[in-house]
Structure formats: C-alpha cells, structure tokens
C-alpha cells in the first residue's frame, strides 16, 4: 500500500530541497560563504523588535495600505538591496578571514576542515562588522539614535558607553592591532618565517616587479609635475569667481561673538579680513523661500515662493536668477549641498552643476526602509554605499560638513578656465543639529541623559528644563563648529589652488535660529518674527580684486540686495530686483543706506507654539491637512489653502532704528513697535508712546504688502480682493 505523501514530498521537490541544502552546506564550508551567511543573519535580526513607525508616528492601516500600494515594488527592491549588501560585505570579510586562515595553515603545514573554514569566515565577518558598526556609531551617532538611544534600556546604555569611551581613531588602532596580530602570529613558527622570506625574495626578484618599478616612478613624477604646473597664472582680464558659503540656520551672533575666535576659528579669521555686514536680515526665515529671494533679489510676492511646498508650476516660474544671468555671461555655476539643499534639485535656479540630494515621498520610503536595518547603515552611509543607497544623502541625521567640503574641494581643484559661481550650502546647523564626531560632544555634557543626547529630533517633545535647552544650544554650537572646520578646509583649498586672489567669497545664512533665547520665542525659524534671532544673519564679504578693506557696516541690508550688489561687482546686467547695490557700503563710503527690511513668516506646521499661539495667529490645519502628494511623489500645498496661508502670515518692517510687527488674529490686527536703539532684544512694545512713528511705518508696511497686486485692505487685514 502506497504511503500517503504530502504534495511537497514529490520526487522533484525532494530533489530541489536536497540541492538547496547542498548549496548551503557548500557555502558554509567556505569562508566567504560563511561570512555572507553570518551577515545575512543580521538582515533577519534587524526585523526583530523593529518598529514600523514613520517619523515617530505609527502609520495607521490606511496609510500603510496607501504606501504599500504606491511604493510596494520600491520597498521590495530596497530590501533586496540591503540583503545583497549584507551578502557582499559578509563575503568580502569572509574572504579576508579565509586569506589569513590560509596563511596560518601554510605556516603550520596543514589543511583546514570545512567547519574550521566556516568558523574563520564567520569570525572575520563578525569582527569586521563589529568594527565598521562601532566606528559608524561613534562617528555618526545620530543615524543610530532612533534604533538604540531612543529606545532606552540596554540599547541606550550600550550606545552611550560607545560614544563616551571610544573615538573612531581608537577603533582604527584596535582593528589594525588585531590584523597585525593575526598576520604576525604564525611568524613565531620557523616554517612561516621561511615561507614569508621566500615569498618576499621571489617578489623582489620577479621580473614583473622590476619592469613595473620604473614606469610607476616616472608616472608619479609626471602626475606631480602636471599638478604643479596645472594651475594657469590668474588672468586679470576675466571676471572674478564667486564662492558663496551658506550656512543653514547660522545666527549672526555666533560669527560676531567676542569668543568666536576660540569657538569658530575659521569664521572668526574670515571675519577679520572681510567687510562685515552687522545688520543683514532675510525676508522669509525658511530655507526655500529665503534662497529664492536671495538668488532672484525679489520679494516673495514677486517670485511666488511663499512657503516650502509650491507646486511644480510655481517652482518653474520664479523668474530670472543671479546664477542664470552669470551662466549667460560665461560663468560655470554650481551648487553643492546636503539634505537642506534638496530645494536646488526641485527648482531650477540657474545652476549648471547641481550636486544635492533629491527629496520626495520615495526618498522617505527609502529612508524608512533603511532605518529598519541599523546594521547596514555603516555600509550604506559609506562613500561607496552612498552611490547605491542614494537616499542617505537626504538624511537630516547624516549631514557631515567634511563630506561637503570634500566635494567642494574636488570641484575647486578641477576648476577650469571659465570663471565660476559656486554655492556651498551646509545643512548641519539646521535642526536636528546632527554633527559628526567629535563635534557632537564638543560643547555638550557627558552627564546629559535627556532626549537630545546626539541631536534634537524635529518631532521630539520640547525641552523640559534648562538642561535640555542648554544641551540643544550646545548641539547647535557643535554643528556650527563642524561647519567652521569644513569652511576652513575649503578656504585653504582656495589658497592652495591659487584661486584666492581672484575669488569673491561671501559667507551668509538663509536664516538664523531661535534657541530659547526667551521662553516666548521657542526654537526654530520662520514661525514668528518676535526678536531677530531667526532673520538676523551674518554677512561677510571678501573681494580681493576690488581691494575692499575689512570694516563693519552697521546699517540694515537685506537678502534682496545680494543680486544687485554682486551683479554690479561682476559687471553683468542686473535682473529686475527689489534690492539695491550695496557698493557704497562695501567701499566704506557710507555707514548705512537707510534701507528698510521687510519680513514675513512662513507656513505653520503645527497648531501653535511660542510666538504663534492661538491668540497670535489665524487658525488653519496642520501641515498634513493642507498639503497633498502629486503624481510624481512631490508634496505640494493644496491650492485652496494658498490664500489662507498668505493672509495669516505675520509681517514685519525694520529700519536702522525701528521694527514694526503686523500680526493678523481673529481679534483684530495686533500691531507692535520696538525701538531697536534702546531695546535691541525687542522686549518692550512702544507703540503707544510713538504712535506717529507707528502710523508712518504702518503705511509703509501696507504699501509693501499691497505690492502683491491680488491683495487689498479690508478692516485692517490684507486679504485677496
């Protein structure tokens, strides 16, 4: 009687299973195979205890379904890529283990059993992985803090221990020591010494080596020779280069502080030899609208970017930009940035070379897919890994200014005969203030155990006490210090490449940052216009060609003035702008042009916060309620909310002496006036005492707001006609 068989026990399937088992056995019997299998285990382990949350919010079923529906195949591809990375890295490490093992075997003149080979492969994979992983944790703790620090318990303890006690160089030395011991241990045996000696002798006497030596030497000489004479002598006929060093969220007080020389030496040194605009103010303290304002020289109601989620059509219609004009006049234009610079990839602003990450819904899905696998992050975030895992460039937790400097220096080193306009935009000082080793611990305290140990995650709850606030400021300073060092390297490269004498260098920021200077002003930028921490930015200007002497400029200047000033200096036609040429200030002919700076808030992401509470703002839904996802995965503001958001903006006007604030609320427009001469921190509203000044400035501010032709004044409010 035939035995009943399960369907999967047919002859064919049994054969297939046996074949699979055989492949596994063989793989395990070889070092690389065993190494690969060892790391593949991590792929599985990563899922244990992984939280399927999106940026701190558990995705509900509908959201999950929508994501799976729209991005299912991408998710599968990403996960396969992670798996493959584990296999390749494991195999490579296993190969190293095998090579060392073979060396040991030869020394002892014996053969390894498959099981021994497997153990060696696994050991090499684990040791290698431990090194890479710890190294990366210590170097970039922010990308691991969600998986370890934030989850508390032993994970948190282990991470803190690593970052407190180890540095990347200590780990390098440790690994080197292990490798040396592993390679040298067999030399205790005479046979191994003989083998090594014989090998080296054979190598030295081999024809190949002899034949190769001469060409290599000649080659090296030629390469260095070319490098030495490559740089052509500066030709004075051509226009100067422009290097814009833009630091996200950099406050003016960090550059102009008394102790800047100790804390941020490169910035301080740059300031020493620059024209220092002490009162530079931006129009919209948020990156996207601010950069468009800066590079078009036009107010937001003229270039159309009023918030960070414009539609593709709005992004395409910003009008002429300075880089575009320069490009038409023979400049090579380039922008280099990390995560905050994604705006340049979505908006054409006239750059030939756009070396910035791209950010959309797909990027988020990709990043979340990686976040499940902390063990693959050391490889994914490596220089090689970034080519395969492109989404890591857009990770706010991974914005190492040193890497940005590398990319900028590479471009400077290869600058051709064309003059260039290069913008390097550093994101590190933007929250989450994630700076690499050693900067994240430079100003912070080891004893700190709150939620912001390595960074200030954007969605983490607000600070509980002064310790937390102190920590956030220290993280920010660390991030500025990291950027400072990168700027130093870029300026050194400029010197080394002989470009310093023909390059205008401008250091500026897209906006500043509130850092709990006052409890009613909170943290961040663009949500309110109380105080100037968010709109007051440093401007340093070096122009070797025009022989500007370093000095302070106390008068108000605006972001819109950059375009006319630069185009004046470079002798190219000025596009239509709202700004003025600051040449008289640069040359030191005047202290102030008595300019008026205008400001507006951006989009409110949340229902309220310091400076935009329920009594201080007009209500509209949170960011998720007003934005939508386009077919090309781009996020945009729903057109029906556009007017509401513009009507709700706070506006301000600033002269050398006064600041006037307009805040529409449902209880009427709230006006405030501050005397900046007597009260630079803007703590005392003097509207009642200076009603005549206020009335004059009100007219001015209305006139500015009504430059937006669609608007009219009704009951004191500026609303669409």
């Amino acid at each position: 009687m035939a035995q009943q068989r399960c369907p999967w026990e047919t002859e064919k399937t049994v054969r297939i299973w046996r074949a699979i088992a055989r492949v596994f056995r063989r793989a395990l019997g070889s070092g690389p195979g065993a190494g690969a299998l060892a790391l593949v285990l991590f792929f599985g382990l990563d899922f244990v205890g992984a939280t399927f949350e999106f940026m701190g919010f558990s995705a509900d079923e509908t959201a999950t379904n929508r994501i799976l529906h729209r991005y299912g195949s991408q998710i599968v591809r990403d996960q396969l890529r992670v798996l493959l990375t584990y296999v390749v890295v494991g195999a490579l490490l296993g190969t190293i283990g095998t090579l060392i093992g073979t060396w040991w075997d030869r020394a002892r003149n014996r053969n390894a059993t498959p099981w021994l080979r497997a153990r060696r492969g696994i050991l090499a994979a684990l040791v290698g992985h431990a090194y890479f992983f710890t190294h990366s944790v210590v170097h970039y703790p922010q990308i691991y803090s969600e998986a370890f620090y934030d989850r508390g318990g032993v994970r948190r303890w282990a991470m803190v221990w690593l970052t407190d006690h180890l540095t990347p160089s200590m780990l390098d030395i440790g690994l080197l020591a292990i490798l040396l011991v592993a390679l040298a241990r067999p030399l205790l045996e005479q046979r191994a010494r003989d083998l090594a000696f014989a090998f080296l002798t054979r190598l030295a006497s081999s024809r190949a080596v002899r034949w190769a030596t001469a060409p290599i030497a000649i080659g090296l000489i030629v390469i260095f020779g070319i490098a030495a004479i490559k740089r052509p002598a500066p030709s004075h006929a051509r226009r100067p280069n422009v290097l814009v060093l833009a630091v996200d969220s950099l406050r003016a007080d960090r550059v102009f502080a008394k102790d800047a020389a100790q804390r941020f030496p490169a910035l301080a040194k740059l300031a020493e030899r620059a024209v220092r605009f002490r009162e530079a103010h931006v129009t919209v303290p948020r990156t996207f609208p601010s950069f468009v304002t800066l590079l078009t020289g036009r107010f937001p109601h003229h270039h159309g970017i009023r918030h960070m989620f414009p539609t593709a059509a709005q992004r395409a219609a910003i009008g002429p930009t300075l880089p575009g004009v320069l490009r038409a006049h023979g400049y090579h234009t380039a922008v280099i940035s990390d995560y905050a610079g994604e705006i340049f990839s979505r908006t054409p602003m006239g750059f030939d070379n756009v070396d910035v990450p791209y950010f959309d819904m797909k990027t988020i899905v990709g990043q979340r897919g990686l976040a499940v696998h902390p063990n693959v992050l050391p490889y994914a975030t490596s220089d090689l890994g970034r080519l395969i895992f492109k989404v890591v460039d857009a990770m706010p937790e991974l914005s190492d200014p040193a890497r940005l400097a590398n990319r900028a220096i590479a471009q400077l080193d290869h600058a051709g005969a064309q003059p260039f306009f290069m913008t390097v935009f550093f994101s590190t000082a933007h929250f989450p203030y994630a700076s690499p080793d050693p900067y994240y611990r430079r100003y912070t305290s080891r004893d700190y155990s709150g939620p912001y140990r390595y960074q200030k995650p954007p969605l983490a709850p607000g600070p509980r006490d002064e310790h937390d606030r102190q920590q956030i400021r220290a993280l920010y300073d660390g991030a500025v210090a990291a950027t400072d060092r990168a700027i130093e390297r870029i300026l050194d490269a400029l010197d080394r490449d002989g470009l310093a004498d023909e390059t205008i260098v401008v250091l500026l920021a897209d906006h500043g940052e509130n850092l709990y200077d006052y409890p009613d002003r909170g943290m961040g930028h663009g949500d309110h216009l109380e105080g100037s921490a968010a709109d007051h930015v440093p401007w340093l200007w070096i122009d070797p060609g025009d022989k500007l002497t370093p000095h302070d400029v106390p008068g108000v200047v605006r972001d819109i003035d950059l375009v006319p000033t630069l185009s004046g200096l470079l002798h190219v036609p000025t596009p239509t702008t709202d700004g003025v040429d600051l040449a008289p200030l640069l040359r030191g002919e005047k202290q102030s042009l008595e300019l008026t700076a205008y400001q507006e808030t951006e989009l409110w992401f949340t229902a309220g916060g310091p400076g935009f509470g329920p009594d201080e703002r007009l209500p509209y839904p949170t960011v998720t309620g007003v934005t939508d996802l386009a077919d090309d995965d781009d996020v945009f503001l729903q057109p029906s909310w556009q007017d509401t958001i513009i009507v709700a903006k706070h506006r301000a006007l600033r002269t050398d002496r006064w600041k006037l604030l307009y805040r529409p609320t449902r209880a009427g427009v709230r006006w405030s006036l501050f005397d900046l001469a007597a009260d630079p921190d803007e703590r005392v509203d003097v509207l009642a005492a200076h009603s005549d000044v206020a009335a004059m400035l009100e007219r001015k501010l209305y006139a500015w707001m009504l430059e937006d032709r669609r608007m009219s004044v009704r009951g004191g409010f500026v609303v669409p006609r």
Binding site: R66, Y339, S427
Partner: protein
C-alpha cells in the same frame, strides 16, 4: 528641507461635504393620483428620509464615524443633514465574496469577505458589494421615530456591524415594547442580515443598540410598509447592457422579441461615450456636464465631487423614492458607488455592485429574480447593469456556436463580442420570464438600452496622443456612430405600442419618458424630452444629439456628424501623426464614416461648428449662493440667538443644532445652541443683509462675528453688522473658513458662481491613468 511631516499626508482623509438639497415632498393630490388604488403594498414611512427629525440619544456619532476604520463607507450626500447629524445617514457597502452563489441562498463566507483587499480608487477586488443607505448607530444608542400608524404595517430592514467587530445587540421597540432582539455575533459581523417585523398600528418605532462606545452598527434601508395599502400603478425595470452596439441586436433573440412587444428606437444616440457619464445622463435627463460631472475625468476631483453633491441633481432613483418607490440597483458597474474615487453615489436605496468579469451575468440575473420575488407587490425601480459585452470578450463557448452571420465590421474579435451580446441576451430573457411568471409584466415598464458602443471598424483605429489610448476595441475617447448608436427599447403592454421608430433620439430622453409613463411631473430646465409622444404618433421635430466623451465631443444632426477633439493629436497605425481636431461626416452618403469632409465642406463645417457651440452644455452652477452661519464648538455651550434680515427673499436650506423660524419672507429668527449651523439662500444674492445676534443674552458686536473665507473681523469698526453692495463679496468663500474651537461665530457665503476647475490633465498624469486602467483591466492592453 524639513519635509519630515509629509508622511502624515498619507493618512490625510478626504473631507466630505453634504448636500444642501432635500428631496422635495410629494404634494398630496399628486400622491393620490400616483397611488391610484392598485392592489399592492405601499411604502408608508421611509425612515432614512426622516432621520433628521428622529430623536437620537447616542455617544457622538461624528467621532465614531471618523474612527470607523472600515473603508467602504460614505456619509450620505443627499440626506441634507449637517454637522454631527450628517452621519446619521450613511452609505455602507459590505462584501459577499461568493459571487457565483450570489442571488441564491448560500452560506455567507464572512471570513473570506474580511480578507478582501480594499481598493480606494477602483474597487476592483472580486466580490459583491452590497451597499445600503443606513442609519448609523454607535454604542448605547436609540433612534426614536414617530410614524403614522397603518393597520397592516410591516418593518423591513437589514442590520449589520462592521467586519471584525464584537457582538452587539440590536433591539427594535414598537410603541415602547421591545419586539425584536437580535445580537450580531463576531461571526456574523460584516454581512447584512435581513429582518421583517410585523408592526400593525404602531405610533413609535425605536431602533436601539446595546454595546460599548467603540462598537458601531448599521440599520440598513429601513422601511415601514403598508401591506395592501395600494401601490403605485407601475414598476420600472431599467436594464442597461454595457457596451452594446445597436447593430448587435440581430444576435439577441430575446431583445428582438421585446422590441416587437414594445417600441424600439432604431436611432438612439448615447449622451456620453463611457459608462459613468452615460448612466448619469440617462438617469438625469440631461447631458453629463449639465448634471454636474462631465465625461472628461475618469476620477472626479474632490472639488468636482463636492460640486456634484452640492447641486444634488434630482436623478431618477431619488425622484422615484420621493414618490414612494424603493430604488435598487444590481449590476457590474463600479461607478455606481460613492466610496471608491471613480464613483458617484446616485441615491439608490440599495446597490449590489457585482465585481466579477465572468460570474457577474448569472449573479445579476439571480439577484434580480430573487428581488422581484421578494418584493412582488411593492413599488420599485430595479436597475440592472449587465457588463457582458464590455471587455474582456470572453463568452461561455456555447454562445459562440449559435451565432448567426450578421453584418458587422470585419474584426478578429467581433465574434467573441457578439457571443457576449448573445450571452447577456439570454440572461435578460430570464429576468423577463420571471416578470411574466410573477404576473408583473403588465404593470412594469421595461426599459432596455446600451450605455455606449465599441469601436470595431479598423478605419477608426488610431491612438489618442493626449490620453495615450488606442481607439480600437475601446470606447470613451472616440465619437463614431458605432460607438454612439445603442439599442433602446420600452415595453409596457397597453401603454407603449409595438412600434419601430427611426427618428434620432438621445439617451437624455429616457428619464423624462419614464416620468411621463409613470405620470410623474416633468422637470423643467432639462434638455431631455419625453419620447411617449413619438410612439403615440404625434409629430415631433428631430433634435440634434450632443455627445460627450474624454477629449472628444460630437454633435449629430440630420445627416451630419461633427466631432471635435480638445487635443487633436493622433497617431495612425503605422506611426503616422495626424491632427484630428475636427471631423465631419455625411451619414447619408457615408454611413461608416470613412471620409472626413472637414476640409472639403467649409460651409457645412461652419454650420456644424455653430450648432456645436449652441448645443454644448456649460457646467451647472450651484443653484444659488448659500449663506452659512456657524457657531464653533467651545469650552462650554453658549446660546446665540437673534434675527437675520434681508431685502431679498430668505430660504432656509438646512439647520444643525439650531432653530430657525421665519417671521416673514425677509426676516428669520435664529437660535443656535452650542456648536450649530444654519444655511440659507437669499434671492437675489445682491440683496442687503443685516444680522443682529446675542450670545447668552449679551449683544454680539460686529467685531465678534468673523466673516468670509478667512474668518476675520472685517467689520470691527462698524456699529452694526450690515452687508450690502461690495461688502457682500467680502463674505464670499471659495472654501469654508477654518472653524476654530472657541465658540467663534462665523458667517460666509458660497460664491454665487462656482468657477469650473480649469485643470486640463497633463500628459504624464493621463498616461499614468491610462496605464492604471490597462493594468486593472478597465481597458485592454495595446490596440490589437
């Protein structure tokens, strides 16, 4: 930068807007005429229509509704309720996964139904989706209805809980006494359970549920019948056969026989070239654009959907329901349900959407016969939608064998298509047989028609570049006669004479014809005209037929057809590019439309252009601009009262949590308690408006009343709130203002003209839609 929050947009839900319009009550005299003493049952009370008047004690419905994670749901847009009350009447579709057995008694596979994957856009998972207009209940709840007692009263309804919910108890109390207790266990969750309960001489009906606040329950399509109370004279069986060309009729013996018993319109022209707009036109008596949703967009935008429900066109099912009918739809037509994004709910009491490409035809038939057997003596509109001739052409093989040779375009797939037509014919025949068997044929108006044809003529084969779609074996985006001409048959012995009518008629005439036969009043202002005079032999001038489609519109008059594309770029087979913005055909000389005369006959072209412009519909505006006064929720409930005065006539459109009583035609007394809203219309919209309100007895100052789209105190400096002239436009709001949470008093007005959304689909998005449609089987791949 800082795009960290975007993910949450994925969770963002679609706001639904409720309609302002109520179904009009029936004048008594007319009701008398319609219920002309025919033996049968009468619908004495439609609970859904009175949901706003019912006394409800319940945990907050709105919150429970928002928390209800079951996706196949919709707030009924036609109930005319506002605020939290809007969720009293909902539409809910529950799936029955056993399509093969649908319509016959079978065990319900709730497990399988629960495993079905929800598709928010196309609803393409195979199953039967039974949707009912229902009362929504949560936790410990009670709906109390005061009804007019009838001697032989009987309650009919279906109850259900959402899939995967725990046991909840349903109780029906008649005059305060529990008459039925039924606990729906977790096992039975997610299916409709029918209930019939005698309710003689009952004054009060209460629908009560017992459960916790997380549990929701549905009272589906509840009706109080008056057994033997006298039904309307006629029922309506309205059968649409999808994609049926008029020249397929020779392979359909049953329809041919039907045509000899009734009137056949030999030159019936569809109003739109694909299903949703076409069905809209036949149920609405007008062109799709004029009804409120044009034929251009496969997926209506949120704005389109809102406008459609705001206009609330009185479609045939809603009109018949208001006149005492039960309106039921059974078919394979995913545009009939409102919760997937492609669909619009049309106001049927119950819809069974049978989503299966092969098993649908027998399932529709069985379900239709079962319905007629169960409701033999009740008044009904039964709408069947057969999908067989629609792609894919996969008839059961036996129908291919007996196909007679008929004149039809030479095409490899023509036989398969005709096989499907024959297949549908046989099953429609079974429904007609059942009608005979139940002795209903004499008092049932049978209407059978196609919603559009299909392109089989290879001379009409090319690819529309703007849509990236081929025309051959497709419909929706071309406009030749083979796509426009459909069968149209009316039968009711004694009323409709056996005739063949050669005059050109349009499917927009179908609804006025049905109303005419039923003796219901015609609606003024629609393009459709009753066809009854034609079969009565009265002379009527033939009217031009206008047809809407995607990218294409057609006007057909006398012997001429004029086609116009919004984007005329087409690629011919072989890759040649051509501009087909305008086409002109002489149907008398060239009935197959092979010779485009647009260049050769400039005079005729000019006159057809003029006719096209004359006939082309414009988007219907919302009826009149509606004014909204809202009190937002606050920490505690305030009473806001006062008067609203206008020079114009004030018409109340809806109230929620408020009382509004007219003092005279120009003055309204208002009382709003807590969070509440009053909607009203003022005619003319330019009339002056004055508002004097008090909060808890203290006069509200003009600065406390927030005006317009942004909710701003625009009149802060005024002494009293008086709006006239230009100031009236200050309160116009493209979108309602953000309400706030502090008891704000808001006043705004829908703009008097809703500007049509001028969004032409981009190449990219439309090619994506095209790709999606192919992947999901709505359109077949390639132009074979």
């Amino acid at each position: 930068v800082k795009l960290f929050c975007l993910v949450l947009t994925l969770a963002g839900c679609t706001a639904r807007t409720n309609s302002h319009a109520h179904a009009q009550p029936i004048p008594a005299a007319e009701a008398e005429r319609v219920h002309a003493g025919v033996p049968g049952d009468r619908i004495a009370y439609r609970f859904i229509d009175h949901a706003g008047d019912a006394q409800l004690t319940s945990p907050p419905l709105g919150d429970a509704w928002r928390l209800l994670s079951y996706p196949a749901k919709l707030v009924d847009p036609y109930a005319g309720l506002r605020g939290d009350d809007a969720t009293r009447v909902i539409e809910l579709a529950l799936p029955d996964a056993d399509v093969a057995a649908y319509g016959t008694p079978h065990a319900l596979a709730t497990e399988r139904a629960r495993a079905l994957r929800f598709d928010p856009v196309w609803n393409r998972t195979r199953a039967v989706y039974e949707s009912k207009r229902a009362l929504f209940a949560v936790g410990e709840s009670r709906y109390n209805f005061e009804v007019t007692p009838v001697t032989k009263g009987e309650l009919q309804l279906a109850i259900a809980t959402p899939p995967a919910s725990n046991a909840i108890e349903f109780v029906i109390e008649l005059d305060g006494k529990p008459q039925l207790k039924r606990t729906i266990t977790a096992n039975e969750a997610g299916i409709w359970i029918s209930i019939t309960l005698p309710a003689p001489n009952v004054h009060q009906v209460a629908f009560v549920t017992h459960g916790n606040e997380a549990q929701t329950a549905f009272w589906g399509a509840p009706l109080l019948l008056d057994r033997g109370g006298g039904a309307p004279r006629f029922n309506v069986l309205f059968v649409v056969i999808d994609t049926l060309r008029s020249d397929a009729l020779p392979v359909m013996p049953r329809l041919q026989r039907l045509a000899t018993e009734g009137s056949l319109f030999e030159q019936a022209i569809t109003a739109a070239t694909w299903t949703r707009p076409s069905v809209l036109a036949m149920l609405g008596g007008d062109l799709p654009t004029a009804i409120g949703q044009s034929a251009e967009e496969m997926i209506p935008s949120d704005g389109d959907r809102r406008r459609f429900y705001a206009v609330a066109p009185p479609l045939l099912p809603r009109v018949m329901e208001a006149h005492g009918y039960r309106a039921v739809a059974i078919g394979n037509n995913f545009f009939l349900l409102g919760y997937p994004q492609i669909g619009l709910t049309l106001g049927f009491d119950e819809v069974a959407d049978i989503r299966h490409p092969m098993l649908d035809t027998p399932a529709i038939t069985n379900a239709a016969i079962a319905f007629m057997e169960q409701h033999r003596d009740e008044p009904w509109l039964l709408h069947l939608h057969y999908d067989a001739p629609h792609w894919p052409y996969t008839p059961p093989p036996q129908y291919l064998k007996k196909l007679p040779p008929i004149p039809f375009p030479q095409d490899a797939m023509a036989r398969d298509y005709l096989g499907e037509a024959a297949y549908a014919d046989e099953y429609v025949g079974r429904v007609l047989d059942a009608l005979d068997r139940l002795h209903l044929s004499d008092r049932t108006l049978v209407v059978v028609l196609g919603d559009h044809g299909e392109i089989f003529d290879h001379a009409h084969s090319y690819t529309i570049q703007a849509l990236n779609q081929p025309t051959l074996h497709h419909h929706g985006w071309s406009g030749y006669d083979e796509l426009l001409r459909v069968p149209l048959i009316f039968r009711m012995p004694g009323t409709v004479p056996p005739k063949r009518l050669a005059q050109q008629v349009s499917l927009i005439d179908v609804e006025p014809t049905i109303l005419d036969v039923l003796g219901l009043p015609q609606r003024p202002g629609v393009r459709g005209r009753s066809l009854a005079p034609l079969w009565r032999g009265e002379m009527q001038a033939e009217r031009p037929a206008f047809v809407e489609g995607q990218d294409v519109r057609v006007v057909r008059a006398q012997q001429w057809a004029y086609l116009r594309r919004s984007d005329g770029r087409v690629t011919l087979p072989g890759g040649k590019y051509e501009d087909r913005t305008e086409e002109l055909y002489d149907l008398a000389a060239d009935p197959l439309e092979h010779v485009n005369l647009a260049a050769a006959k400039p005079d005729r072209l000019a006159s057809m252009r003029a006719l096209f412009e004359h006939e082309a519909p414009t988007q219907r505006d919302a009826p009149i601009s509606v004014l909204h006064l809202r009190v937002s929720p606050g920490d505690r409930d305030h009473v806001v009262d006062g008067t609203l005065h206008s020079d114009g006539a004030i018409a109340l459109r809806g109230v929620a949590g408020a009382e509004a009583s007219p003092v005279d035609a120009h003055t309204l007394k208002l009382t709003l308690r807590g969070a509440a809203q009053v909607d009203l219309a003022i005619d003319p919209p330019t009339a002056q408006l004055q508002l004097a309100l008090r909060r808890d007895g203290t006069p509200l100052l003009p600065r406390e009343i927030l005006l317009g789209e942004f909710g701003l105190p625009l009149m802060a400096s005024a002494k009293q709130l008086m709006l006239d002239g230009d100031r009236l436009t200050w309160i116009d709001a493209v979108r309602p203002p953000v309400p706030g949470e502090r008891g704000e008093v808001l006043l705004w007005r829908d703009p008097s003209k809703i500007t049509p959304l001028a969004l032409s689909p981009t190449k990219k998005s439309s090619s994506e839609v095209a790709g999606m449609m192919r992947r999901w089987g709505y359109a077949q791949p390639g132009g074979r």
